[in-house]
């Protein structure tokens, strides 16, 4: 082996100048990875295949811009040079990750070649050579080496769109193809391959010639300008968030800002938005104060329409100074956060050039250039954005994938899963290999070191049809009158070992996703509905929390143990309710053990529940619906609102109790990095909309603490019940819920102890322990708990608060995505139910906008938008939250209205329900 010194000057993080010296070893054992080469070592290496006519070496720009082309099945035998991988990694991490997937995928013949460490392909950087030129030269040298190395056996082709580079390469005797030529070669066999080609900027220019004069965005500032402006605080950095209801407006939220007023900056108008897309990290220049504006409350969905409107009116509404917010304009993009988007093509045109309308309303339309447009008009497709030129109103992109016919249930489900980036692939083999073999049985030697409590009276209560039973309960009366409550949770961690392929897959998925008609599981079915599921009359492993409480509900003693149990009965909520009912009528002496346990648990649950509400826990509400399916179970016939039984509350109460005691235990053992869950106390401002509504409804509400809020909600409930309109109270609770932020997972070290508080549950500390089959957070908590009782050690790589917080962030993100997917799925099914017919329904005014109202349909838990036409629009009185129609009728919040709605055949999975107002009582 040969050594070269690599030495360069670097600026350290502190800003000092330092000389960095690194060794650089050149090797003679790097394989060319071709099965045709007689000399190179090949043992245990992933090789190229013999399938293609030639080996392909793409340059960095091809990898960065044409990755979807490379990812297509048509492309095989690709050599990714180290130089290319390195440059890609520095430029775009997500593309690099996709490359790594290609490299590790055994079915794709992608290999990497460490050209910079190969003795024949390493070159020294010359004086005055730019790093780009040096990289290009490295790639050429590697390509030439390959050409001569595989001289007679196989052709090697350099794929590049850089004309100068191609010229030099050809003169050096390297075969070169441009993307266009490459695609032409493959087009015969793979007719759709051209669709995957990302349009290059120059191409767009030609077609956009006329537009050039009509519409131009400002040019982005260069790095130097941005850096200078950042230092002088004229420019700030933040995440661009498009407005869901108004496509002409966006906000940029500034993370590091310590000024309260500068937390978010309004961007008004697409010119000021300057080609930023939701999620991008952008630099924003704050405009002078006289140009500040108030956020508009109007609904604007179509940019083109909105533009025309502006052209027509040219007047701006005058707003008072108090409503004005800091306003700015985007001057440069720090990092794009583009992903593939689902949607469909605009129906208007059928030429080669059309617009693609993403399902996500925050994403602008995308210009598509394709020969297949006519056949794709009724399809759902996935599109990637390639670039956004200054002179084009919309970004341009290319089609990546076709999902199926629009409006089809299967397709629309695919869309909503894709939009929420939910992993739906089948479990890969490596994951399934981690499962215990078929011969696995729960024999006594597999549970030597577990506490055997198979003779205890343990049972589970779950929704009907539940196969992944992860909790079971037991209760025992002790001699001193205390009760020992056993909460037995499936011991998933005994099957999912730390850092196995199975563990990584589960952590990636983070949660089981429940859609209206299916579920996408976090763990393979063999675990989730067999080995881990605490099935009736089966021996199963459990992690038990044995909690001793006195008759007042005070926790006296807690013990955790890994156990082996046998559930006596798997109840559904309704069955358990029946059992309970029957047991209540009987004499205690005649009761069976299960009935007695149920009775005792119910009593204890009541006590605990009462205490919890006395402590200020909130009874919140969100509309939950249930679907009734026909016999085959694939067509949904009706929906109804979910009914809550006493037994639901029973289970809930003990799960809360177990989660709390577990949280207390793990925070003791891991004070710095326990994985906990908190619900932040809402700020005054967040309750603002609620207070407005309360004022409009003439009720009093005290939001100063959760206890007061809870009490005043109870009072409001009573008041509305007295007025014979209890649903108003439910609406009020839903609105309250929406004022709050969601509960979050976090690492104990990232928050102060006061912040551990769970506002909704009024618990000082909380975590998730009880559903390890369907939530990854619980798996981590199980591991922590195991370690805290000395059963096994928790991995050190996760012992830092930062590491746990990183996991927590991922869990939170996946949790939200799963919730969104579930909600979208419910909406999709509901809309399907209404499809094709005109319906009249009774609804409630749920939100008032300045040019429309949001109506909620209590029967279905659905929300829809009623837009007012400009001419006949009622007048909006914001103070009293009332619309006054020209006729003089008033439309108040939570009022009953009758609406009609019609859903055309091409329904959208996340499309909005548009309604018309018929009358208001």
């Amino acid at each position: 082996m040969n050594v070269r010194g690599k030495s360069f000057i670097k600026r350290t993080r502190k800003g000092n100048i330092a000389r960095v010296t690194k060794e650089h070893y050149l090797r003679d054992d790097i394989s060319c990875l071709s099965p045709l080469c007689p000399t190179c070592p090949k043992r245990d290496l992933k090789l190229l295949s013999n399938a293609a006519e030639f080996y392909l070496i793409p340059d960095t720009n091809i990898v960065l811009h044409q990755l979807s082309l490379l990812e297509s099945e048509a492309v095989t035998d690709v050599i990714l040079l180290q130089t290319v991988l390195h440059e890609t990694r520095n430029r775009n991490m997500s593309i690099y990750d996709r490359l790594k997937n290609l490299l590790s995928d055994q079915s794709r013949s992608f290999v990497s070649f460490a050209n910079e460490h190969h003795k024949d392909t390493y070159i020294e950087r010359q004086k005055d050579e730019s790093s780009n030129d040096y990289n290009d030269r490295s790639i050429r040298v590697a390509a030439r080496w390959y050409t001569s190395h595989l001289n007679a056996v196989k052709r090697v082709v350099l794929l590049t769109d850089d004309k100068n580079n191609a010229k030099v390469a050809t003169s050096e005797g390297i075969e070169v193809l441009s993307v266009d030529e490459f695609v032409t070669l493959h087009e015969k066999k793979h007719p759709h391959i051209r669709e995957l080609v990302a349009s290059s900027p120059s191409e767009v220019d030609e077609t956009q010639d006329e537009r050039k004069r009509k519409f131009v965005y400002d040019e982005y500032w260069n790095t130097q300008q941005v850096q200078n402006a950042l230092r002088s605080h004229r420019v700030v950095e933040g995440v661009f968030q498009a407005n869901l209801y108004n496509c002409m407006e966006a906000t940029v939220s500034i993370s590091g800002s310590n000024q309260e007023s500068m937390k978010s900056i309004l961007i008004a108008g697409i010119k000021n938005m300057n080609r930023a897309i939701d999620g991008d990290i952008v630099y924003v220049e704050i405009l002078p104060e006289e140009m500040w504006r108030a956020p508009s409350k109007e609904v604007k969905e179509d940019i083109e329409e909105a533009m025309e409107e502006i052209e027509a009116s040219k007047t701006e509404s005058v707003v008072s100074n108090s409503q004005k917010e800091p306003t700015g304009r985007v001057i440069a993009i720090k990092r794009r956060n583009w992903r593939p988007y689902c949607g469909s093509l605009q129906k208007k045109s059928a030429t080669y050039l059309t617009l693609f309308v993403p399902v996500d309303r925050r994403i602008p339309k995308i210009r598509i250039h394709s020969k297949r447009i006519p056949e794709l008009l009724d399809k759902r497709i996935v599109v990637a954005i390639d670039n956004w030129e200054r002179n084009s109103m919309f970004p341009s992109g290319h089609i990546m994938e076709e999902l199926g016919v629009e409006g089809n249930l299967e397709t629309e489900t695919k869309v909503l899963l894709h939009e929420n980036s939910i992993v739906t692939r089948a479990f890969p083999k490596a994951v399934l290999d981690c499962l215990p073999g078929d011969e696995f049985q729960f024999t006594s030697d597999t549970f030597k070191d577990r506490k055997d409590i198979r003779n205890w009276c343990i049972f589970s209560i779950d929704p009907p049809g539940c196969t992944d039973i992860d909790d079971a309960l037991s209760i025992q009366l002790e001699e001193n009158g205390n009760y020992m409550i056993g909460v037995h949770i499936a011991d998933v961690t005994s099957f999912v070992s730390q850092d196995s392929a199975l563990d990584r897959e589960a952590s990636d998925r983070s949660t089981t996703v429940y859609l209206a008609d299916r579920r996408i599981e976090m763990l393979p079915a063999r675990l989730s509905s067999d080995l881990c599921s605490l099935k009736e009359n089966e021996t199963r492993f459990a992690f038990s929390a044995l909690i001793t409480v006195d008759s007042m509900g005070n926790v006296v003693h807690v013990e955790f143990a890994r156990t082996v149990i046998r559930s006596r009965k798997a109840f559904t909520y309704a069955e358990a309710q029946d059992y309970l009912q029957r047991a209540r009528e009987k004499d205690t002496k005649d009761c069976t053990e299960i009935e007695l346990s149920l009775l005792r648990l119910m009593d204890m649950a009541r006590i605990l529940r009462k205490r919890r509400f006395e402590n200020g826990a909130l009874r919140l509400s969100s509309p939950e619906v249930r679907f009734e399916t026909d016999q085959e179970g694939d067509e949904i016939t009706n929906i109804s609102v979910y009914e809550v039984l006493e037994t639901n509350e029973l289970v809930e109460e003990f799960m809360l109790l177990a989660n709390i005691v577990v949280a207390q235990q793990i925070v003791k053992s891991f004070p710095n990095c326990a994985l906990l869950r908190r619900h932040p106390t809402p700020t005054k401002e967040m309750f603002e909309p609620l207070l407005k509504i309360a004022h409009a409804l003439n009720v009093e509400i005290d939001v100063s603490s959760n206890k007061h809020l809870s009490d005043s909600l109870e009072k409001i409930q009573e008041k509305f019940e007295a007025e014979n309109d209890p649903f108003k109270a439910t609406l009020f609770r839903i609105t309250t819920t929406r004022c709050m932020t969601q509960a979050l997972y976090f690492s104990a070290g990232e928050a102060s102890q006061e912040e551990y508080f769970h506002y909704g549950l009024a618990s000082k500390i909380y975590t998730h322990f009880t559903s390890p089959i369907r939530r990854y957070a619980d798996i981590i908590v199980h591991r922590m708990l195991r370690s805290s009782i000395g059963d096994s050690s928790f991995p050190d790589s996760l012992l830092s608060s930062k590491a746990i917080q990183k996991i927590a962030d991922h869990l939170n993100e996946r949790h939200r995505a799963a919730q969104r997917a579930a909600r979208d799925s419910v909406a999709l099914h509901t809309l399907r139910l209404f499809r094709g017919e005109r319906r009249e329904e009774e609804g409630r005014v749920f939100r008032l906008l300045s040019n429309g109202i949001v109506v909620m349909l209590p029967r279905y838990g659905l929300e829809g938008l009623v837009r007012f036409e400009k001419s006949s629009a009622p007048v909006f009185d914001e103070v009293n939250q009332v619309f006054v129609t020209p006729k003089g009728t008033k439309l108040k919040i939570f009022d009953k209205v009758r609406v009609s709605m019609e859903i055309d055949a091409t329904l959208h999975s996340s499309g909005q329900l548009v309604m018309q107002l018929i009358e208001s009582p």
Partner: protein
Amino acid sequence: MPREELISPDGLRTDGRRPLEVRKITCRIGILPRADGSCHLEMGNTVVLATVYGPRELSSRQPFSGIIRCEYSMATFASTDRRRRGKKSDRTSVEIASSIKKTFESVLLTDLFPHSRVDVYIQVLQADGGERSAAINAVTIAMVNAGIPMKDLIISCSSGYMENTTVMDLNNVETLVRGPQLTLAIYAHSGKVALAHWESKAAFEIFEHLIAVAKEGCLQILDVIHSNIEKYSLRLIASRDSISRK
């Protein structure tokens, strides 16, 4: 800017080594004529100079404080950022010096020179990871050079765990990651552990693995050092022959 990737998709480390390869070792023996024994050892970009004086008999007035006195210091210019202190009194230096002292005391045949002392001076001229190992290896060679009788040679190598891979002989970039890292010194012939320096926490399996890898590294280093010592000795013999022939 994303953090540097330590193990590439090809399985190569940042400098082009495979996980189980040590850096290039060069050593020059006996470069300081006035010292009894000296060695200038390069392990990659880590350069140390070890000098050994003695054994010298102590006068009866001098208190006897052990068979070896060891001083370890790092030159101010040794590391890139000049943050680390070069003073021999700083805490890591004292700690390294005392661990080296103890390690070598276990191997010297002290019966042969009672009430004597060996002075060992180690200077790190360039630091690029694995200074402790390099220092131990350099001292071993310098001891041989000084002709001090030892039961066995002591060879040291570091190992670390990163990105699900166990690697040996860490360089500076790899050291800065702060994962589980081990510095191990073994007796060359018996293979027993003479010193294990361990500051992090890791699962037991990883620790076992790290020990195995570090041992493997020691053996690789031993090969190089052995052949160097052999070459040096042969040269010495050759020169003696030429003297005696005159």
